[in-house]
C-alpha cells in the first residue's frame, strides 16, 4: 500500500489517487505520432468526433422517437421534425452524419490500404477497424429502418430476405431475425434495441480495441518508414523538436486534426442544412406500406457496391442459380477485406504508388468500387445488368489475384 501525504491542492489530491499526470502523459503529451503525415491521418479523429455527434444527436432523438409501427413515422416526421424545438436539427445531423461517417470510414480504410498500414505488426489495427466497419454497417442499416418510411421497410425486407439464401437454416434464420414471417412491429422494435443499445455498446468496445491496437505497432507514416519511436521520442523531449521524427499527440498532432476537422465540419454542416436529400431519401417520407412496392428499391449509398456484387450474378452458371452465386459473392465481398493483411504477400510497406505492381491493383479496385456503387443504384436492366456482372467479376478476380500480384512484386523487389 502506497503512503499518501496530505495533498496541497485539489489537483494533487486527485493526482495521488488517479495518477492524472502519468495518465495525461501516456494518453496525450507523450503518446508519439510520426511527423511525416498528411491530412489523411486526421480521419481517425474525424470519425471519433462524428461518432460523438451521432451519439449526442441520437440521445435527443431518443427522447421523442416511438418504436411502434403505428407511431414511428409520425413521431419522426411530425413530432421531431416539426413540433420539438430544433428536433429537425438533431434529425438532420443524425441522418446526414450517418451517411457522412461512411464517407470518412471509406477514406480512412483506403488510406490504410494505400499506405500499407495493415501489415508488419499492424494486422490487429486493420482487423479491429474492419470489425468497426461491420458494426457501423449494422448500425446504419438498423437505424435506417426506424423512421418506418417506404425505403426503411423495403430495404429491411430485401436485406433480411438475403439471409434466406443460406443453405438449410436460411428460412428459419429470416424468421428469427424479423421476429415474424414478414417485416413487422417485432422487427422494428428489435432493430430499435440493436440500434440504440447492443450495437453502440459493441462499437464502443471495438473502438477501445482499435485505439489500443495502435499503441505498440504505432501509427504508420507517409513513407512507410520504420524507426525507433523511443529514440525519436527522447530526441523530442531533449529539445530537438525539429530533428525528431515524432510529435506528441497533444498538442501537435491534434492541432492539425482540429484544423482538418474545422473544414470538414464546414462541409458537413453545409450538407446538414442545405443538401440533405442524398442522406434522407424522399421516398422515405412516404409511410411504410407492405402492399405497395416502390418502383426502385436501393440501399443507402454506402452499401451500393456490395449490393451490386449481390445482384451482379443474375443468371445460372454451372447449375448454380444466380441468386446463390450472388449470395456467395456478397459473402466473399464482405469478408475478404478482413484478411487483406494475408492476401498482400509483399513485405513492402510503402505508398501504393511506389509499389511496382500493387499500384495498379489499388487504382483498379477504386475504379471498380465506383462502378459498382453507381450501377448498384441504377435499375438492373439491359446493359446495366451486364456492367454489374462484369464489375462484380472484376471485384472477385482482383482479390483472388492479389496474393499472386504481391508475390510477384516481392520477387521483383527482392531481386534488386
Amino acid at each position: 500500500m502506497a503512503e499518501f501525504k496530505p495533498a496541497d491542492s485539489l489537483y494533487e489530491w486527485f493526482d495521488q489517487r488517479l495518477g492524472i499526470d502519468k495518465f495525461v502523459k501516456v494518453m496525450m503529451t507523450e503518446y508519439w505520432i510520426p511527423k511525416n503525415i498528411n491530412f489523411l491521418w486526421a480521419m481517425g479523429v474525424l470519425l471519433t468526433v462524428m461518432f460523438t455527434i451521432l451519439i449526442v444527436s441520437g440521445i435527443f432523438l431518443l427522447m421523442y422517437y416511438k418504436p411502434d409501427i403505428n407511431m414511428a413515422f409520425d413521431s419522426v416526421n411530425y413530432t421531431i421534425m416539426q413540433e420539438v424545438g430544433y428536433g429537425w436539427l438533431f434529425r438532420h445531423i443524425h441522418a446526414v452524419g450517418a451517411s457522412v461517417v461512411f464517407l470518412i470510414i471509406y477514406i480512412h480504410m483506403f488510406t490504410g490500404i494505400y499506405y500499407g498500414s495493415y501489415k508488419k505488426g499492424r494486422e490487429l489495427i486493420w482487423i479491429s477497424g474492419m470489425l468497426l466497419f461491420v458494426l457501423f454497417s449494422a448500425e446504419g442499416f438498423s437505424g435506417y429502418m426506424l423512421p418506418w418510411g417506404q425505403m426503411s421497410y423495403w430495404a429491411a425486407y430485401v436485406i433480411t430476405e438475403i439471409f434466406g439464401g443460406i443453405p438449410v437454416i436460411g428460412g428459419d434464420l429470416v424468421v428469427w431475425i424479423r421476429g415474424n414471417f414478414y417485416v413487422s412491429d417485432s422487427t422494428l422494435t428489435r432493430f430499435f434495441m440493436l440500434h440504440v443499445l447492443l450495437i453502440p455498446l459493441a462499437i464502443l468496445g471495438a473502438i477501445v480495441v482499435h485505439f489500443y491496437a495502435l499503441r505498440f505497432p504505432h501509427v504508420n507514416n507517409e513513407e512507410g518508414e520504420f524507426f525507433d519511436f523511443d529514440k525519436e521520442a527522447d530526441k523530442y523531449l531533449a529539445g530537438d523538436k525539429k530533428g525528431s521524427k515524432v510529435v506528441p499527440f497533444w498538442p501537435v498532432f491534434l492541432s492539425k486534426d482540429f484544423f482538418v476537422l474545422g473544414f470538414f465540419l464546414l462541409f458537413f454542416f453545409y450538407l446538414v442544412f442545405f443538401h440533405y436529400d442524398f442522406a434522407m431519401d424522399p421516398v422515405n417520407f412516404d409511410k411504410a406500406d407492405g402492399l405497395k412496392t416502390p418502383a426502385h428499391i436501393y440501399p443507402e449509398w454506402y452499401f451500393l457496391w456490395s449490393y451490386e456484387v449481390l445482384r451482379g450474378f443474375f443468371f445460372e452458371i454451372a447449375g448454380i442459380s444466380g441468386k446463390s452465386l450472388g449470395l456467395m459473392a456478397f459473402a466473399f465481398a464482405n469478408a475478404i477485406f478482413m484478411i487483406l493483411p494475408w492476401l498482400d504477400r509483399s513485405p513492402m510497406v510503402k505508398p501504393a504508388n511506389q509499389r511496382p505492381y500493387f499500384k495498379y491493383w489499388f487504382w483498379f479496385l477504386i475504379a471498380d468500387l465506383i462502378v459498382l456503387t453507381v450501377y448498384g443504384k441504377l435499375p438492373p436492366t439491359g446493359a446495366n445488368a451486364w456492367v454489374g456482372f462484369a464489375s462484380s467479376m472484376t471485384f472477385l478476380v482482383l482479390f483472388i489475384a492479389l496474393p499472386f500480384i504481391t508475390k510477384a512484386e516481392a520477387k521483383k523487389i527482392g531481386g534488386k
Binding site: 438532420h92 523538436k241 484544423f259 453507381v374 443504384k377 441504377l378 435499375p379
Partner: protein, 292 residues
C-alpha cells in the same frame, strides 16, 4: 501542395461517385417529361376570346349549377351535409366560391363543356362505359353562354390577400375534398369510405408530399397527373399557375414548417464553424512552426 493534390484526388473520386448515384441515377429513374402547360392548350371546345356577360352568367348559374354546388361567396349554401352529398354524388361537389380565382379560364370553360375530357379521365369514364362522371356535360350551351358563366364565377370569387391564409383557402378548394392532411389536422370533406369507393383507393394524405415528391414533381404532377402517373384516377384539376403555386406553398408550410428556421440557422452555424476552422488553422501553424 502535396496535400492539395491528395485533396483534389479525393474530391474527384467522391464527385464522380456522387454524380453517378444522385443526379445521374435520378435522371435515369425519373426521365424528364413534357413541361407543365398552364394554358391547357389541348382544350379547344370553347372560344375563350368571347367576352362574358356577368348578368347573364348569374341567370345561367342559378338555373344550372346551384342545385348541386354551393357558392357561399354569392349566398348559396350547400344543399345538404357532406356525408349526404357524398352518398348522392359519390364525392362532395365543390363549392364554386373560389372557382373563378383558382381555375384557369380556358380550363374552366372547357370543363363546363365536357368535364371528363378536360380532366383527362376518359380512361376512367369511357364513352358508353358503366361509370359516369357525376357532373353532366354542358355541351348544349353556346360558347357565349359558357363564357358568361365563367365571367360570373370570376366576379363572385372573394378578393384574397397574399399569404398563408390564401394558400390554405386555395388548397381547400382545389384538393381538400379528396385529400386529407393529417399534419394540418385537416380531413377530406368527402367521408373516407365514400372517397375510397369513388376513387378506387383512398387518396394519399398529403402531409409529407412536399418532401416525398418535392416541388419539381408536384409542379408537373398537379398540372397533369397523367403525364407522370399514367392511368391514375386523380383528375387534372386545372389550376392556374398562381393557384398551383399557392397549393404547393401550403404543402410546404405544413410539411416543411421549419424551412426558414433551417436556412437561417444554417448560415449562422456555417459562419461559426468557419471561424472555428480559421482559428484552428492559425493555432496549427503556430504549433507546427516549432516542429518543422
Amino acid at each position: 501542395m502535396k496535400e492539395l493534390k491528395i485533396l483534389a484526388v479525393i474530391a474527384t473520386l467522391v464527385g464522380i461517385t456522387y454524380y453517378g448515384i444522385e443526379p445521374y441515377a435520378h435522371h435515369i429513374m425519373h426521365p424528364e417529361v413534357k413541361a407543365a402547360d398552364f394554358t391547357f392548350a389541348d382544350l379547344k371546345n370553347v372560344d375563350t376570346k368571347l367576352a362574358g356577360n356577368t348578368a347573364n352568367g348569374k341567370v345561367l348559374v342559378e338555373a344550372n349549377c346551384i342545385a348541386c354546388h354551393a357558392i357561399e361567396s354569392a349566398g348559396h349554401p350547400a344543399m345538404m351535409p357532406n356525408a349526404d352529398a357524398a352518398a348522392s354524388y359519390g364525392v362532395v361537389p365543390p363549392d364554386l366560391s373560389h372557382a373563378g380565382r383558382v381555375y384557369d379560364k380556358n380550363y374552366l370553360a372547357n370543363f363546363i363543356f365536357d368535364p371528363v375530357s378536360a380532366m383527362h379521365l376518359s380512361h376512367k369514364y369511357p364513352v358508353g362505359g358503366t361509370k359516369t362522371f357525376p357532373m353532366p356535360s354542358y355541351n348544349w350551351m353556346t360558347g357565349q353562354e359558357i363564357m358568361d358563366v365563367v365571367a360570373y364565377l370570376q366576379s363572385v370569387s372573394p378578393k384574397v390577400k397574399e399569404g398563408a391564409e390564401t394558400h390554405k383557402a386555395t388548397y381547400d378548394a382545389a384538393c381538400g375534398r379528396c385529400h386529407s392532411m393529417s399534419y394540418a389536422k385537416s380531413e377530406a370533406t368527402t367521408p373516407k369510405d365514400a372517397i375510397k369507393a369513388y376513387m378506387g383507393a383512398t387518396p394519399p394524405d398529403l402531409s409529407q408530399y412536399i418532401k416525398s415528391r418535392g416541388e419539381h414533381y408536384l409542379h408537373g404532377f398537379i398540372n397533369d397527373p397523367q403525364v407522370l402517373l399514367a392511368g391514375t384516377s386523380m383528375p387534372r384539376v386545372g389550376l392556374n399557375e398562381k393557384a398551383q403555386e399557392e397549393v404547393i406553398a401550403y404543402m410546404e408550410e405544413i410539411g416543411d414548417s421549419k424551412k426558414a428556421e433551417r436556412e437561417s440557422t444554417g448560415i449562422n452555424v456555417m459562419i461559426y464553424t468557419f471561424i472555428f476552422a480559421m482559428l484552428a488553422y492559425l493555432w496549427k501553424r503556430k504549433i507546427w512552426s516549432e516542429v518543422h
